[in-house]
Structure formats: structure tokens, C-alpha cells
């Protein structure tokens, strides 16, 4: 069946709001599926929503530009959302100040190792330059990651997808990894999740414990700044 033959389609097609509606509806559906699956990270709502929408666009042949004309109303809220990350940092300043001597080196090491290991491995596998650059912000919260990818010559949309995949892997694997490494400190567990699996990891961290969640938020926020600076200064000079 060709969707363009439906009589109401002509009207809907000219109204970009339809794509805002489709995006919201797909997300609401994905969220209820996620709850049904008892918040298993494999049913991550972002992953489900993106799969649904990509499938829908591929089947109907609607160009991405048409879709984005409506979906941009969600997209423009990314920037303000990043600004909001300042609040959890400020609210937890006391615990953070006490942990600072361990926090800063761990953040620096985590950010560096995350970026360098991805670059090194991708280079070993023979992936090309634009992909290498797209991998740089893979552990950064997606809105910032897309900005970084754009700035250094990667592919922003691909960066968003790579972030989602990284976040889902992180949310699933963090607990077994920490148990195997015998790390009981919730601050360390949270930080590892936030620095490496950003927002999706932070959601998983809050399910474990509030301390884990707070340190994950901090890890995510500071890693976003650190990676942006690292990518902007070091990589531009180097590659």
C-alpha cells in the first residue's frame, strides 16, 4: 500500500505538526513498552522510538527533511536541557566537594580513556576519518555530542545514534562489570555510568541508588564539558 494514495494524506503532508505528533506518540508507546518490560535496559525508549520512526519513514518514503520540519520543535529544546544540568551539580555540591580529590582524576582518566580507546579501536578496525571523528563524543550526552560532532567534522545524526547504543550497553553491563571488579563504592559506580553512558546510564544509576544516580549526573555533566574541550582543542590540532 502506498500511503500517498490515501485521501487525507495530502492534507496531513502539508502540516508539519503531524511529525511532531508521530514522534510524541511513538515515544509514549515506547515508554509504556519499557515499563511493561520492567525497565529492562534492552527496551530503552529512545532505541524503540528511533527504530519505529526509521521503519515508518523507510516504508512510507517520506524524506527526512519533511519529518524534521515537524520534529524540530522537540529538537530545539536540546540546548535548554543541557543548561539545566547545572542544577543537580549545584544541589549536590557538599558531597562533591568532599570527594573532589578522587573525583577529578577519575573524571579526567575516564574521559580520556573513553575517547582514546574508541579512536584506537576504530583505527585498528580500519574505519574511516569521518567515522573516527563521529566516535569522539560517543560517551557524551546526545545533545552535546551532536554539537561536538558537528564542530569537529563528524556526522551529528550518527553521533546521536552511537550515543544511544553506548548508553544502552552501559546501562545493561555496568552492574555485572562492577561486581566482577569488586567495586562497592556507589560514587565510583555512578561516576563510571555517567562518564561512559551519559543520560541512559544515569537513569539506570538512579534505579540502583540515589547516591549512584547523583554521581552519575555529575559524571555526565562534567564529561560533556571535558570532552567538548578535549575534542575542540586537542583533536583539532592533532588530526
Amino acid at each position: 500500500m502506498n500511503i500517498e494514495q490515501l485521501p487525507f494524506w495530502v492534507y496531513l503532508e502539508r502540516n508539519p505538526l503531524i511529525w511532531l505528533l508521530v514522534t510524541l506518540a511513538a515515544y509514549v508507546l515506547a515508554q509504556s513498552l519499557y515499563r511493561r518490560a520492567r525497565c529492562s535496559a534492552w527496551f530503552n525508549p529512545v532505541a524503540t522510538t528511533v527504530c519505529l520512526l526509521v521503519l515508518f519513514l523507510s516504508l512510507t518514503g517520506v524524506p527526512y527533511e519533511d519529518y524534521f520540519a515537524g520534529a524540530q520543535f522537540i529538537h530545539v529544546m536540546l540546548g535548554p536541557a543541557v543548561v539545566c544540568l547545572a542544577l543537580p551539580i549545584w544541589q549536590n555540591r557538599r558531597s562533591l566537594r568532599r570527594s573532589l580529590p578522587a573525583l577529578l582524576p577519575a573524571l579526567l582518566a575516564g574521559s580520556l580513556v573513553s575517547v582514546l580507546s574508541a579512536l584506537g579501536l576504530a583505527w585498528l578496525f580500519g574505519l574511516d576519518r569521518s567515522l573516527l571523528l563521529t566516535l569522539v563524543p560517543k560517551s557524551v550526552t546526545a545533545p552535546v555530542a551532536m554539537g561536538i560532532a558537528q564542530d569537529i567534522g563528524g556526522i551529528p545524526e550518527l553521533a546521536a545514534v552511537i550515543c544511544a547504543v553506548t548508553g544502552i550497553f552501559g546501562a545493561v553491563l555496568a552492574l555485572p562489570l562492577m561486581q566482577r571488579l569488586r567495586i562497592r563504592d556507589r560514587r565510583a559506580r555512578g561516576l563510571a555510568l555517567g562518564v561512559n553512558a551519559h543520560g541512559i546510564g544515569t537513569a539506570a544509576a538512579f534505579q540502583q541508588h540515589s547516591v549512584t544516580g547523583v554521581y552519575s549526573s555529575i559524571g555526565m555533566a562534567i564529561n560533556a564539558v571535558l570532552t567538548a574541550v578535549l575534542a575542540g582543542t586537542l583533536l583539532m590540532a592533532w588530526i
Binding site: V144, G147, A160, L173, D185
Partner: protein, 122 residues
Amino acid sequence: MLVALTLIIGLQVLGTLMVELLAMPIPGPVLGMLLFLLLLPLLPRDWSGLDQVTRFFLANLSLLFVPAAVGIVRHLDLVSPILLQLLVVLLLSLLIGMAVTAWVFAVLARRLAPARDEELEP
């Protein structure tokens, strides 16, 4: 609430402008966040519904990058031939990154900032 929303959007615009004008190596919203962090100590607690606005944004953070991620439809032919390599790179790099972050923190914290009871898994 509207005042808080205006402030947050204003900070982002300010951040983006400053990044452009001063050619800084970070995205505009990140600078906006840093400016917000400087401003927060000056504001009264929960000024003008700031908590509510912030909570709304952060609770729905993942929805916000759906439109961009759907842009992958334009790059399917680039990704599909290297999908396996890409997944292996992401997985290995993630495990290395998480292990290093947690380990560095745990080793340093044991001497410099020992965990309190509520900070330890049983």
C-alpha cells in the same frame, strides 16, 4: 515557571553568542550550563519554579534527541556495511572506560575521601 524557562533559554542563547564571538572550543549550550552554575548561588532556592522546569527537561532528556537520531535514515548505506565493527568498538571502549573510571575513583577515594555508609553497596 515562564520566567525560569526564559532564563534557561536566555542562558543558552548567551552561551551560543559568546562561543561564536570568542571562537571558544565548546558547544554553546555547555557554556550556557557553566553560566547557569555561576548564577545559581545568587538565586534563592527554587527561584520562580526553576526546579519544576529543570525537572521537566531532565526527565524527558532522552525524547529530545529522537528527531536527530532518526536522521540515521540518511546514513543507513554508510553504517550497514560496518555495523559489526562499530558495535565491537563501542562495546570494548565502553567496558575499558567504565572500568578505568570506577577503578581510579575507588583507589583514590579509599585514601582521600573514604566512603560513608550510605555510599557503599552491602
